[in-house]
């Protein structure tokens, strides 16, 4: 029971318990003997009943009784027509369970047995409600009782509204009851989904619930159950249908496919260049939430005279359920299409019910995307990162866009984000109302008392507001002040050092969001990579997010165009999300906190990646990598893998300790790699990697010698 401290057992208690143990041992032995020999006599049933009433935790005991019940039911003459006899057998079971539950009202086996008996359907469930009331009185936070209540409610088809009222009553008695709040959230979801009268307007339901829980939050801010419900409400408030929010090629762009670098240099948007070996280019769709089921039947791509069929869509994620925010396919023009003049391509993601988000919401609206493609006639010299040219990350090679170019760049950023803007302005307005309202209440509460979870909620609300502002172009007049968010996270880090990593991650997202939301400031991080010394080198579009001290990256929908990314001098521990950047050729991750090769897993999905700098990280520094389980790896069975152990075995011995390096690099075709400054980077590893990647030309700035 909650809030009641345990007393140490007295001598008497101990004597009683050893007596009970002796008795139990005897009963156990007898019961197991019956079980083994399939003895289901009346006497055997009585003995097993008294055993279970004494020790309801005995699973085998319950299973024995299930077999026995089934045996007795089968023994009944007339093939089970005699409902009275059936009922008497089953009623006896209910009696045993009830006695067992009186001994331990949290016994899994006993509750399950009761469900099993009632599922047979011969017995009335009238008594069950009284039983539930009794157990609720004993301990209103017993989640077994709540589970059972849901079971009975569905058996009896009890109306959800009534059940909701029941939870209200329980919560009013004592709002420190996760189970009751949880049941409430389940019921409200059902009621809103079914659009039951009174619950059809999501806005009103949510507002009422916010008000209900607010009273709990103010009354006792130290109690977490209300806050958890509030968090659920916030999530529910921000739950949209999934939408296509970004793509590459960007909406409205004119894509120029060429074999080499564009000789004319970068041109302002909507002109976009892509270096391609053939008449093929990648198409990347980015959704507001992870979705599933993108296929040639749900997405159509066509140009004036051709429909691209049999497109193979790949989820850019290691998620086992094939949910992903980013999806990619390759589009290849057949030879009969003349690309010397622009050919307009339109892509339609059908509003198909089979495409759903992780939360189960379908993508109901149809999304369109169009751009044009052509191959310039004056195809220039083919140049690609190869073994002969080393990419240098030195400052002088990064040309920030000129002012003239900037405006078109901004235009691209804006149009690449929000292929189709969330155009449900009215529905977003009430969301904004709710969030702003909650922000105000949260601030009021924090004025009255310092409260960790209140601060966390406030900062979540502020972030939610910033999302609403940027997603829907809505503005309730208050500017999003990222410095406030950062300050709140700094406070939380001090207050709650145990969860400092979480706060760092969240704070990083806020910092990134700040960089992104101010497009002018973002422009300073973007430009063209060019080496003055070698003008023929390819001009990559770069993004530099170095030295921001972020521990997590996000908002990839803004960066689908990036070919060269500098994330050095941050605090990154993993690079989840980076897999969406399919155009990425060069990646700098030096001076971060990456601890293992497994946390670089997303790189395996980057097929164009040639240059990688992971120097000065912590790979190999921690013998036990506690974050490994977070990354997709064969260890978590989240990625498929063919182990080819023979490749791991070197001629002069075994390289088994480098299995994780093997798993990462065997699929990469890097030309240039920097791993210096990691404890793991020794001679053996270097030679292993050189052997593993024949394409590798530069390793730690030295030409690889084979």
């Amino acid at each position: 029971m909650h809030g009641i401290s345990r007393k140490p057992p007295t001598d008497e208690d101990q004597a009683a318990s050893s007596l009970k143990a002796a008795k139990l041992r005897d009963l156990h032995a007898q019961m197991l003997n019956f079980h083994r020999n399939k003895i289901y006599t009346k006497e055997a049933m009585e003995i097993s009943a008294s055993m279970l009433e004494l020790n309801p935790e005995h699973y085998t005991g319950w299973n024995y009784r299930k077999l026995a019940v089934q045996f007795h039911l089968n023994q009944l003459p007339g093939n089970g027509d005699d409902s009275q006899s059936i009922q008497s057998i089953l009623t006896q079971e209910l009696r045993v369970v009830e006695n067992a539950l009186r001994r331990n009202h949290k016994s899994y086996g006993a509750w399950h047995h009761r469900k099993w008996v009632l599922s047979k359907g011969y017995l009335s469930t009238d008594r069950e409600l009284r039983l539930l009331d009794m157990f609720c009185k004993l301990d209103s936070r017993n989640f077994h009782m709540w589970n059972y209540r849901r079971f009975i409610a569905s058996l009896r088809k009890m109306p959800d509204e009534e059940e909701l009222k029941y939870t209200t009553g329980i919560i009013e008695d004592n709002f420190s009851n996760y189970s009751a709040w949880h049941y409430r959230s389940v019921l409200l979801c059902k009621l809103m989904e079914k659009k039951v009268s009174g619950y059809d307007a999501e806005e009103i339901v949510l507002k009422d619930e916010y008000e209900f829980v607010r009273s709990a939050l103010f009354t006792d801010p130290d109690d977490q159950s209300g806050w958890f419900y509030h968090l659920w409400l916030l999530e529910k408030t921000l739950q949209y249908e999934p939408a296509l929010i970004s793509s590459w090629p960007p909406q409205g762009s004119n894509l120029h496919l060429s074999h080499g670098a564009c000789s004319t240099g970068p041109q302002p948007f909507p002109e976009v260049h892509f270096q391609s070996k053939g008449r093929m280019f990648p198409l990347i769709l980015y959704f507001s939430e992870p979705v599933n089921c993108l296929s040639s039947s749900t997405v159509t791509a066509e140009c004036e005279c051709h429909t691209f069929t049999n497109l193979i869509w790949r989820a850019l994620s290691a998620s086992p359920q094939h949910f992903s925010q980013a999806w990619m396919t390759y589009i290849e023009f057949p030879d009969n299409i003349d690309l010397s003049k622009a050919c307009s391509v339109s892509v339609t993601v059908a509003g198909a019910p089979e495409i759903t988000s992780l939360s189960g919401k379908p993508l109901s609206k149809c999304c369109h995307l169009s751009f044009s493609v052509r191959t310039p006639s004056d195809s220039s010299v083919h140049s690609e990162v190869d073994g002969h040219h080393k990419i240098s990350w030195s400052e002088e090679n990064f040309m920030v866009h000129s002012e003239v170019f900037q405006s078109s760049f901004l235009h691209m950023l804006r149009s690449s984000i929000g292929v189709e803007k969330v155009d449900n302005k009215d529905t977003s307005d009430w969301r904004m109302d709710i969030i702003s309202n909650e922000v105000a209440y949260c601030q009021e509460l924090l004025l009255a008392m310092d409260c960790k979870i209140g601060k966390l909620t406030l900062v979540r609300l502020l972030m939610a507001r910033s999302m609403l502002v940027s997603n829907g172009n809505m503005d309730d007049g208050t500017e999003v002040r990222y410095e406030d968010i950062v300050k709140l996270y700094d406070g939380l880090k001090k207050m709650d050092p145990v969860h400092v990593c979480y706060y760092e991650d969240q704070c990083s997202l806020a910092l990134l969001k700040q960089v992104i939301s101010d497009v002018e400031s973002l422009a300073k991080h973007c430009g063209q990579y060019r080496e003055p010394s070698s003008p023929a080198s390819k001009p990559y579009s770069f993004l530099r997010l170095n030295g921001l001290l972020i521990s997590r990256i996000g908002f990839m929908e803004n960066f689908l165009w990036v070919q060269m990314l500098d994330l050095s001098h941050n605090k990154l521990r993993d690079i989840e999300g980076l897999e969406a950047l399919q155009l990425l050729v060069c990646l700098k991750l030096s001076h971060n906190r990456i601890r293992s090769f497994t946390s670089l897993e997303p790189l395996k999905l980057l097929s164009s990646l040639k240059v990688l700098d992971i120097s000065h990280n912590e790979i190999g520094a921690h013998s036990i990598d506690t974050r490994r389980h977070l990354c997709a790896s064969p260890l978590t069975h989240s990625v498929e893998n063919e182990w080819r152990l023979d490749e791991l075995v070197d001629e002069d011995g075994t390289q088994k300790e480098n299995w994780d390096a093997y798993l990462l690099f065997k699929d990469l075709k890097l030309v240039q790699l920097d791993i210096a400054g990691n404890p793991v980077a020794n001679y053996r590893l270097r030679s292993f990697i050189v052997k593993l990647m024949p394409s590798l030309h530069w390793l730690d700035a030295e030409i690889t010698i084979r």
Partner: protein, 523 residues
């Protein structure tokens, strides 16, 4: 008086202790003394139990309050051996004012059990309930929850007292910040009673007036009033030092608060902090009389003692003489506050005495459609600006078995110096809660919800505190001005210890079966 015509002979005629009357203190003393092995005789001049704590029918109540009780003169001859000092009886009630608001007499008026000492309740965890359980008299009693507490003002609008965490959560009248403040305050009090030294309230704060402490804790005016008058049950306006005779200090206040909070949920079948004894408060002295009888005391009703016998030479107490003329001897004597011996004139003058105005109302409907048994508090200055003491009201329904079904009894009380003042307070409260001749016409909706008053009785009761007479003769107290029995029980214990310094006041009976320790309550 009836019943005094016949007085049985008491045998034996020597006792350790004679207790005159069967009031609250008298019955507990009789029970404790007999449990300690003393030979006890308990006699009540009335032919009902309880005396000033009795619960009476309508007619019984009126005649008891009206009777200017005179002891029958002793007809028998003067005893030769002892000096006989006739006892002087005095009614401690005055200014009885009975009103009938309906032309019809009240039906089945004999089915009422009106408490003389109302409004009065128990807190589930208070010392009285503990005492009841320890002495096993809960076997003779039944209790029911007083479901709710409200605060009201002159308009009669009842606002729920947010007295617990869940009540604060449910409350719709407090602002969110007030909810936060009040709960924070409750937690602070809770913390004071924990093991940890860090959460203790400082000594300085404990010795400060509670009002100041509440202000220091940042509680709003409304919250202060809730805590002071509806939870801590203060009598006097704590905000003005000149009128407040009874400043509540933080230490005792938070003790009371903690007691209040531990009362909520003490018994699984009681859903609030407060209890009322079914059939009326007389059940309590009656239960103790029963326990006394179990322990061997002799109890007689309708047997007035008419005089006290003193040794002629030493002037020491020897015994009493009954109306029948029988002389009974004991080493000690307990007298009720209404009886005095001429020699021991009370020192206090009539004017200086505090009084409590009590009222009893009968109505045919509840003040709240959603509750039957509840308390209402009118904090100082809520009825009119000059109101310096709180008015309390307790409504009870027929499910307490105190009145016929469909009827409601309401008890009111307020401390006062003068009778007029007390009556003014009670009348103002009645006008706020009931439809009376004086009810102001607030908006019609308010009026429609208020019950019609059928009958009412107001009376002034003197607050006679216990005064010692001699080592052998002691006086008990009148029902006090408080809502619960704690102070009276303390006084009783003190009285008992004065009488028998070496005996246990609370001795757990070993010869009677004890149950699980919770008083019987109707679910």
């Amino acid at each position: 008086m009836e019943g005094t015509d016949y007085c049985p002979l008491v045998e034996p005629s020597n006792f350790d202790l004679i207790v005159v009357s069967t009031g609250f203190q008298e019955s507990i003393i009789a029970s404790a003394a007999s449990a300690a092995g003393k030979a006890v005789l308990q006699l009540d001049p009335n032919n009902f139990y309880g005396h000033h704590f009795a619960s009476l029918t309508l007619d019984g109540l009126v005649s008891f309050l009206q009777s200017d009780f005179q002891l029958p003169l002793c007809s028998s001859q003067e005893s030769s051996d002892y000096a006989s000092l006739p006892l002087v009886a005095r009614s401690l009630y005055s200014e009885l004012e009975i009103k009938s608001y309906s032309s019809q007499p009240i039906e089945s008026s004999g089915k009422f059990n009106f408490d003389l000492c109302g409004p009065r309740v128990f807190l589930c965890s208070d010392a009285m309930i503990d005492f009841i359980i320890k002495s096993s008299v809960n076997n003779y009693m039944e209790f029911k929850s007083v479901e709710a507490s409200f605060v009201s003002d002159v308009t009669g609008k009842l606002v729920t007292v947010p007295d617990s965490r869940s009540a604060i959560f449910k409350d719709r009248t407090l602002s969110l910040i007030e909810k936060n403040q009040l709960m924070k305050f409750f937690k602070l009090v809770h913390g004071h009673f924990q093991e940890s030294e860090e959460t203790k309230i400082s000594k300085e704060d404990l010795e400060s007036p509670f009002m100041e402490f509440l202000s220091k804790m940042g509680l709003s005016q409304k919250l202060k009033s809730f805590v002071l008058y509806a939870i801590v049950h203060a009598n006097y306006d704590q905000e003005s030092a000149e009128v407040c005779r009874d400043i509540v200090y933080t230490e005792s206040a938070i003790d009371h608060l903690a007691l209040y909070h531990s009362s909520v949920g003490r018994f699984s079948n009681a859903n609030s902090a407060l209890l009322y004894p079914m059939y009326g408060h007389v059940e309590l002295p009656q239960a103790f009389c029963r326990r006394a009888a179990v322990k061997g005391s002799i109890c007689g009703l309708g047997m007035p003692a008419v005089s006290v016998l003193m040794d002629k030479e030493t002037n020491a107490y020897k015994g009493i003489k009954l109306f029948s003329g029988q002389e009974i001897f004991s080493s000690k004597l307990i007298l009720p506050p209404s009886l005095s011996i001429p020699t021991e004139h009370s020192t206090c003058t009539e004017d200086a005495k505090e009084r409590v105005a009590r009222g009893i109302c009968v109505a045919e409907a509840s003040m709240r459609p959603d509750a039957d048994n509840f308390l209402v508090f009118f904090p100082p200055r809520s009825l009119y600006p000059e109101q310096i003491t709180a008015v309390r009201m307790l409504q009870l329904s027929s499910n307490m078995a105190v009145c016929p079904s469909g009827m409601y009894i309401s008890y009111l009380s307020a401390v006062c110096d003068k009778a007029e003042e007390g009556k003014k307070l009670l009348n103002a409260a009645m006008d706020a809660l009931f439809l009376t001749d004086n009810s102001r016409n607030f908006d019609s909706k308010d009026v429609a919800n208020k019950p019609h008053l059928l009958w009412s009785a107001l009376y002034i009761q003197e607050l006679q505190k216990a005064y010692a007479s001699s080592d052998f003769i002691r006086h008990t107290m009148m029902p006090d001005e408080h809502l619960d029995y704690s102070k009276l029980l303390d006084a009783t214990e003190k009285l008992f210890r004065d009488l028998y310094p070496n005996e246990e006041f609370i001795s757990t009976p070993d010869d009677e079966p004890t149950d699980d320790g919770s008083p019987d309550m109707d679910p």
